[in-house]
Amino acid sequence: MPEALFHHLPVLQVVLTLVAAPLCALAGSRWAWSIATAASIIAFAITVTLFSSVLDGTVISYHIGGWAPPIGIEYRVDILNAFVLLIVSGIAVLTLIYAQKSVTAEIGSEKHGLFYAAFLLCLTGLMGVAITGDAFNVFVFLEISSLSAYALIATGADRDRRALTAAYNYLIMGTIGATFFVIGLGLLYMLTGTLNMADLAQRLFDHGDNRTLRTGFCFVLIGLTLKLAMFPLHLWLPDAYSRAPSAVTAFLSATATKVMVYVLLRFLFAIFSFSFAFEASVLRVLVLPLAMIGIVVASVVAIFQDDLKRMLAYSSIAQIGYMLLGLALVSQTGVMASIIHLFNHAITKAALFMAAGCFVLQAGTTSIRELRGIGRDMPWTMAAFVVGGLSLIGVPLTVGFISKWYLVEAFIAEGWWPVALLIVASSLLSFAYVWRVVEAAYLRDAPEGVVRKEAPLSMLVPMWTLAGMSIYFGVDSSLTSAAASRAANALIGASNLFWQ
């Protein structure tokens, strides 16, 4: 690749999808899908190039407008955000391939141009959040991705009118979250006079602990945990995920909350630090218990859902609890467990929601009761669902097991046996809700007079790619665990330069 092109890759990563979005809107329904898919494939190719060049620990810095940081906006690619970019753009490609049939069935054709434009804007926002090294720029991209996500969820109204209220609730909650976040940023800016993340870390350290810093930290923490649906700030999530169009749910569940977890990691450990005593106590006293309660409560609620998508949505809240558990441990192994679960859960949950979308297309329902006997009519879809379900439970040879292994190991290393036990015990709860679906699908007879066909190939292939990855990386986790471990080291190493 020519040197000049390579130099500009960080910005092209975000700009190409941004340019493709209005083109989708202009081109209309006929070409929108092709433009969106092509743009996302290019974005994924750029990510792969960036990822492979930062794998050895180099950091790529790009100055927007030629203005050097800390004055100008800096795009900064290190192994951690390259890993997150890989998840986001990879899932986007698979979801778009999957979306063609699913979206045609669920959304009126006159809206397709705008739908794919919103999808690309959401992708742009999420990649922008991940790639930028400027704290305020995070907020801007956060709003781009959130606003387009609200619109995407509202397009579910063609199938279920309640998507509109779900989108509206998400809009209100998401805006409150963003407000908290930006107030926190304002306080940090007041304290330091800078918005560049690396500069912020340095200056916060020079400043030392004080009340404004603590207040700013709390605002940022609350804003982000609202956006990533930490229990009890999760109330927007079940409605939003269960009523959005299937492709949107698959994309958002795998990327939106994951990117928020990334931002939280970045703020907690690269801008603030382990050695910031107040942070450690907030994480251990507040976030850790809430994550544990969230895992149990959300899993129990999931057991009693009849709607498959809603059940998976509650399961997502529980899984976010595991990620928060890892980072609330405030240790290198804990952070690594969080990062690896971020990847593992993204592919698992995307596969599961894709299976749910196949049921919507072919059976016209996501009610578990009405999906009786579906395992015989749609064997491939249901088999992918089972693989995903096993991974949620944490059965060996799936990625879910790898996540839980590292998480339990991290807690045992710190001597926190009760939490480790809870993680293992919570698998039983996941087993309960996955089993309900498996039982209905394989052991019950189909309702009378219902004809259901297997999902089309264009939906099976992306779904099985993800399900296959859930098995592949469960058997051979060397790639993901190496990436996660290096990412954790890079993250913590960056701030420990200052906060010793």
Binding site: A4, V11, V19, P22, L26, Y62, H63, G65, W67, R161
Partner: protein, 145 residues
């Protein structure tokens, strides 16, 4: 609103000034208060005033729904296109130095084009949002609740 003579006369008087003022704010954004966002909002406010006095249908004749989508998209494309063109001139994204013979002139030219894109996008979006809400007929009837 044909009977609101005063409103119509005042609106007719104000409209040209609002639109010209929007352009003023647009072109003076680089060396005074204002810029693309504000100009777009002022311009759209003029259009909305027109719709309030003469009805949404009259506005839709001037700017159909399709046109406002084109305006929004065009604005973003002008913005991003300017940024990308600086890549071809050998500078970083949104570094306008290469757009003219000397760097200062290039910066000024670049920011004017970018702000024009912002203005068009904002005006298009404001008008689209207004017509979407104002032109909406209730889909859910009372008995359906």
């Amino acid at each position: 609103m044909s009977h609101h003579l005063v409103l119509r006369v005042v609106a007719n008087l104000l409209l040209p000034f609002i639109l010209v003022f929007a352009l003023y704010v647009q072109w003076h954004g680089d060396n005074g208060p204002g810029g693309g966002f504000q100009a777009g909002v002022v311009f759209a406010a003029g259009m909305i005033l027109y719709a309030l006095v003469y009805g949404v249908d009259a506005l839709k004749k001037v700017i159909p729904a399709k046109t406002s989508i084109i305006l929004m998209s065009l604005g973003v494309l002008i913005y991003a296109g300017t940024g990308l063109s600086s890549l071809f001139l050998g500078h970083d994204f949104l570094d306008y130095s290469g757009l003219a013979a000397n760097s200062t002139q290039g910066q000024e030219r670049g920011i004017l084009i970018v702000e024009l894109g912002v203005g068009i996008a904002v005006a298009g979006a404001m008008i689209a949002i207004f017509t979407a809400f104002a032109g909406r007929t209730p889909e859910i009837e009372d008995k359906e609740w």
